[in-house]
Amino acid sequence: MFKNLNISIILFFTLLPNASYSENMLVDGNIFYTVPETGGTDNFHTGKILTVNYNYYYQPWFALTAGLFFSEEIYDKTQTDIVGTYQASIETRGLSLGIRPEYHLSEQNKIYGRLGIISYKTKLIIDEYFEPGLPTGSSDKDTSGNGYFIGIGWQHSFTKKISFQLELKNQKQLDLFDGETSADRVFDFSYTGFSIGLGYAF
């Protein structure tokens, strides 16, 4: 469905009107604190994802947004079963493209929403330990795909150019390892959390 996301992002920048308009563009950088979930028996710790977005305002209340995201290695809690003790972790990165409607509360404050699609590449890493005397092991596998994100935030402007933003967000990565494993093993990753960041308007 979103296979041409990368092309779309290139088109997004290509089709932008003259970029020299004053302060109709915003670059924001955020740290997204999130707990990934698959809906299974995973139990991830909170992790951080760095996001950087470029927003182009077609109207004072409406912008197109394109961005990048990179995570640190986010760890699942250690689990033990009949086979051994294992710990999963993930690293993810990708691109996003969407819209950002806004509502101005005052000259300095506004609320905004974000909605769009993502293209992700996620690495799943498993470390496993057995009884003493048996070799431990580690295995990892990359997968890529698409998904979507939705968020609502508050932006406070310190100056005309510098602003702070706080956002509640959910990013969904769909169908990890689809086509590589059996259908009942394919899963989605849901990243829910909040982000804090700074914006620079120009």
Binding site: T38, G40, T41, D42, D81, I82, V83, G84, Y86, A88, L124, I126, E128, F130, E131, L134, P135, T136, G137, S138, S139, D140, K141, F177, E180, T181, S182, R185, V186, F187
Partner: protein, 316 residues
């Protein structure tokens, strides 16, 4: 048969039980989760299978010890229990340390159950959330793989009944009868007791010591092997232990469709049974010894089929 998964909960329950027992000065009740009577030296294996009347699956369990230390099966080594039609991996840890349990489907009531240690690194990980086929760390088969044992389930005890079903004194007794098979099997009588004073409950299990455990169709049973007085110094009660406890606990959960308390047999005695109304679920097991593939294997192996009736105790 995982009775207390949570380690903290288990510790709390154990401490609570210990405290209560100290306060009440009750008799010596075994509450830990070590299988008793495991010899201190050498390898020892406990294998059991039981099918209750009208149930379509067999409760199977196994535990392995080396020098009395439970052996954890790791790396994908797992016990497979099979009848001619069905098989299942024992993936669930049982109440007792080092024990593994499962429910083996047996809708056609096969009598033979085979246990085989296999190496199934993917199937053993089947409950994990990630694609184990893509991220498989396999240390290889362990030393137990290939070992096997066989159990023959005896017939289910039919026409089980008691000469009386309402009792008012622990000095009462009754005659338990059933249809004898005469195949040389032995019988076991066990109880699951639930007493209440309206606000608090005590639950526990007992093993009735039989004068004659042969399959002869009747047995005289004294109620003081089932209901007891925690203040008495002359108790003859024998609390349910080891694989008998594990099987009966699992059976209670099955018979109640999961509603039975997982700690039913934890012997948390909150009220004195002799002074309160008690519901007694009496179980009769027909018991038959099995065999290990290797004659050098030391341990206990048995198959059984069971039935139950309910009796009541209401003190005067």
């Amino acid at each position: 048969m995982v009775l207390i998964h949570n380690k903290n909960l288990r510790t709390t329950a154990t401490l609570a039980a210990s405290s209560i027992l100290l306060l009440l000065g009750a008799c010596d009740i075994e509450i830990n989760n070590n299988i008793p009577d495991v010899p201190p030296d050498g390898r020892f294996v406990v294998v059991g299978a039981n099918q209750h009347k009208d149930m379509t699956d067999v409760q199977v369990g196994i535990a392995i010890f080396d020098d009395a230390v439970p052996v954890n099966l790791v790396g994908g080594d797992v016990v497979q229990a099979s009848t001619s039609n069905d098989s299942i991996l024992l993936l669930e840890k049982g109440f007792y340390k080092g024990s593994y349990v499962a429910s083996l489907p047996n809708t056609t009531n096969f009598d033979q159950v085979n246990f085989l240690m296999v190496h199934e690194p993917l199937l053993a990980r089947q409950d994990r959330w990630y694609p184990v086929d893509l991220l498989n760390i396999d240390p290889g088969a362990g030393e137990f793989v290939g070992a096997s044992a066989d159990i023959s389930l005896p017939p289910v005890p039919l026409n089980m009944s008691a000469s009386n079903s309402n009792f008012s004194s622990i000095n009462d007794n009754f005659v338990l009868t059933w249809a004898a098979e005469g195949a040389g099997d032995s019988m076991r009588v066990r109880s699951a007791v639930s007493c209440t004073n309206g606000t608090a409950n005590s639950t526990y299990g007992t093993e009735v010591v039989l004068v004659d455990d042969s399959d002869d169709g009747s047995e005289n049973i004294d109620l003081n092997q089932i209901i007891y007085d925690i203040n008495s110094d002359n108790q003859i009660i024998k609390f349910l232990l080891a694989e008998a406890r594990a099987i009966l606990q699992e059976l209670l959960i099955k018979l109640s469709n999961g509603a039975a308390d997982e700690n039913f047999f934890a012997n948390l005695v909150l009220i004195n049974p002799v002074d309160n109304s008690c519901e007694i679920r009496l179980f009769l097991f027909r018991h038959r010894d099995g065999s290990f593939d290797s004659t050098s294997t030391n341990g206990r192996i048995f198959g059984s089929r069971s039935a139950d009736i309910n009796i009541l105790y209401n003190p005067n």
